[in-house]
């Protein structure tokens, strides 16, 4: 099971000091957080994508490309990539480039985005959110899977003889997740393609999350990708941890009380009872998150939101250390101990996907850059032809 952190990249005033970082400081803090998570041994770092203040991460692949060069093991991902307002052609190119640069150490999560004005800023209509998500993603997949694409649809100009470059690494596109909180259509989409489904549960009671996840699992099986319990599931969550529960509550409360996302609403007592937010000791986080599988089954990825609400960078880095040292190893071992042998432990890695594609006969035995069908066949094709001629 993978454990990681995801950032929405909010610029928020620290309520205890009144200090607000500027955009540059916040972007650099996100980079530091990701590098620290890699060094500490967490499995995933994911950045959000936003196009409106107070959020800074507008350009995920620039950020993740830099991090690909600076980190060693951590999987680089998104939370989420806007499949509605981005041109799927640009997404195909940018994320294939990231896949090549990172050596396949990446995946990405599609989402629709819920900020109304962002749609018209990018020439789209929010009322078409679901149809945009469906058409754009269907095109994105074709651009990754087919070398030359002829296409026409409702939402962008047609394509004739278009080849997206670079081609996916080893001929296998990145693994894709779909994130949705309330829309079963998106769970249906994830199930249809056999992609991963991530429910960002941070504002929701686990009962709602479990219903959505179980719907995805049933549909995953329906579409023939495997058994329901083998589907690839992720959850969002958020924690604030200190050695003692009281210390965690005292330190986090001023941030919670005025945080843009939940300030002035439910009390921290109510919110921690009803949502996955856990404020307390490492053991309390272990107890809470170690029980979620009882409601959603074995899942492959747990993401934590830890760098929001104006928390200072130093505190966030300490949270990463506590997660990596005191929490994740225990949760990972517990997950592994109860996981049925034929349920995937993790989301598929690039190497596993290449091996699977090869086994299914979808890739040439020796991977070669695919022919672009413009300038002619590759040298490898010619060799195959020569071999065939020899046998004959």
């Amino acid at each position: 099971m993978q454990f990681g952190i995801f950032s929405v990249g909010d610029v928020t005033t620290d309520p205890t000091t009144g200090r607000t970082p500027d955009d540059t400081e916040r972007v650099r803090a996100m980079l530091t957080i990701a590098e620290h998570a890699d060094a500490a041994g967490l499995d995933v770092f994911a950045t959000g994508e936003h196009h409106n203040p107070p959020f800074v991460p507008s350009s995920p692949t620039t950020m993740l490309g830099y991090l690909a060069g600076r980190t060693k093991n951590i999987v680089l991902s998104t939370a989420t990539t806007l499949i509605t307002t981005n041109d799927p052609v640009r997404l195909a190119e940018e994320y294939a480039m990231l896949q090549v640069i990172s050596g396949g150490r990446m995946d990405l999560m599609m989402g629709r985005g819920n900020t109304g004005p962002v749609y018209p800023w990018f020439g789209k209509d929010i009322r078409q959110g679901i149809p945009l998500a469906i058409e754009n993603y269907a095109l994105l997949r074709r651009l990754w899977e087919e070398d030359v694409v002829d296409w026409s649809g409702k939402f962008r100009t047609p394509l004739q003889g278009f080849t997206s470059t670079p081609r996916p690494l080893d001929g296998v596109p990145p693994f894709v997740w779909h994130g949705s909180i309330r829309s079963p259509e998106i769970a249906e989409q994830a199930a249809y393609y056999g992609d991963g489904f991530l429910h960002n549960a941070i504002f929701w009671p686990m009962q709602h999350t479990a219903q959505m996840v179980n719907f995805y699992r049933e549909r995953y099986e329906h579409y023939g990708h495997g058994r329901a319990d083998q589907a690839i599931v992720g959850l969002g969550g958020q924690v604030f941890v200190r050695t003692s529960s009281q210390a965690a509550w005292d330190e986090f409360r001023p941030y919670f009380d005025v945080a843009p996302v939940y300030g002035h609403g439910p009390s921290m007592e109510d919110f921690t009872r009803e949502t996955p937010l856990t404020v307390g000791s490492p053991q309390q986080v272990i107890d809470r998150y170690g029980a979620f599988w009882e409601q959603v089954g074995h899942y492959q990825r747990q993401m934590f939101l830890i760098d929001h609400a104006g928390l200072p960078l130093k505190t966030v880095l300490e949270q990463i250390d506590i997660l990596a040292e005191d929490i994740v190893p225990v949760l990972r071992a517990e997950a592994e101990a109860r996981r049925p042998a034929d349920v995937p432990a993790n989301p598929p890695s690039h190497a596993e996907r290449v091996a699977a594609a090869r086994a299914a006969g979808k890739l040439p035995a020796a991977t070669a850059a695919a022919a672009d069908h413009w300038t002619g066949r590759t040298a490898e094709d010619d060799l195959d032809a020569a071999d065939a001629a020899t046998v004959r």
Partner: protein, 205 residues
């Protein structure tokens, strides 16, 4: 035959509340009128006073918790609704409107509703027509013609209305709601997952 579900929404903020009194009487009148038609009904009361914090929390966080989630669930499965608010500053109470604001927009679409309001003087009588009725029209509810406004004096023995005393109006409104409820198929709660088109349909759409 399964019993029909009548959900009463009372926006009264004091205890005891004349708004709750009016709501209960409207519900009783509806249940009696249904019984005369051989239709059994059970009543669920939603007191907004008890949900005040949860309603405000949902306007800030976007998710329903506790009793508010139960109330929304009950309304979504209601065969008929009695909605009553006190009059505050010439309109429905803010809490009543906030509760409506956090309902899913289709919750009351097509649902038979009787509207009521309470206030200090008869000068507010038309608040049902000029404030509540447009709100429920926007929600697509099937609002019965008689709305019941009860001023303080209406609760006196004879009331102030010689033409149509409060008990008459309550009885008539209950009759109208019962008529609508009895004339329809029992409400079927449509869950989030009941109407999801298959992905082939979504792709083809």
């Amino acid at each position: 035959m399964t019993a029909r579900s009548i959900v009463v929404v009372s926006g009264g903020l004091s205890q005891p509340s004349s708004t709750r009194m009016l709501a209960d009487r409207l519900a009783d009148a509806t249940v009696s009128a249904l019984a005369e038609r051989g239709v059994e009904a059970r009543v669920t009361v939603v007191e907004l006073r008890d949900l005040a914090h949860e309603v405000v929390d949902m306007t800030l966080t976007g998710y329903a918790r506790g009793g508010l989630a139960d109330a929304q669930e009950a309304l979504a499965g209601a065969d008929g609704v009695v909605a009553v608010t006190p009059v505050y500053t010439a309109s429905y109470a803010g809490l009543f409107k906030s509760f409506v604001d956090v309902l899913d927009k289709d919750t009351l679409r097509g649902t038979p509703v009787v509207l009521g309001a309470t206030g200090g003087t008869a000068r507010h009588s038309l608040v049902v027509e000029h404030a509540l009725r447009p709100l429920f029209a926007y929600l697509g509810a099937d609002v019965v013609p008689t709305g019941v406004f009860a001023a303080t004096d209406d609760w006196a023995e004879a009331g102030t209305d010689d033409v149509r005393p409060l008990p008459d109006r309550i009885r008539r409104a209950g009759e109208q709601l019962a008529e609508r409820v009895a004339g329809r198929e029992p409400a079927r709660r449509v869950g989030l997952y009941d109407a999801v088109p298959s992905f082939e349909d979504l792709l083809g759409a």
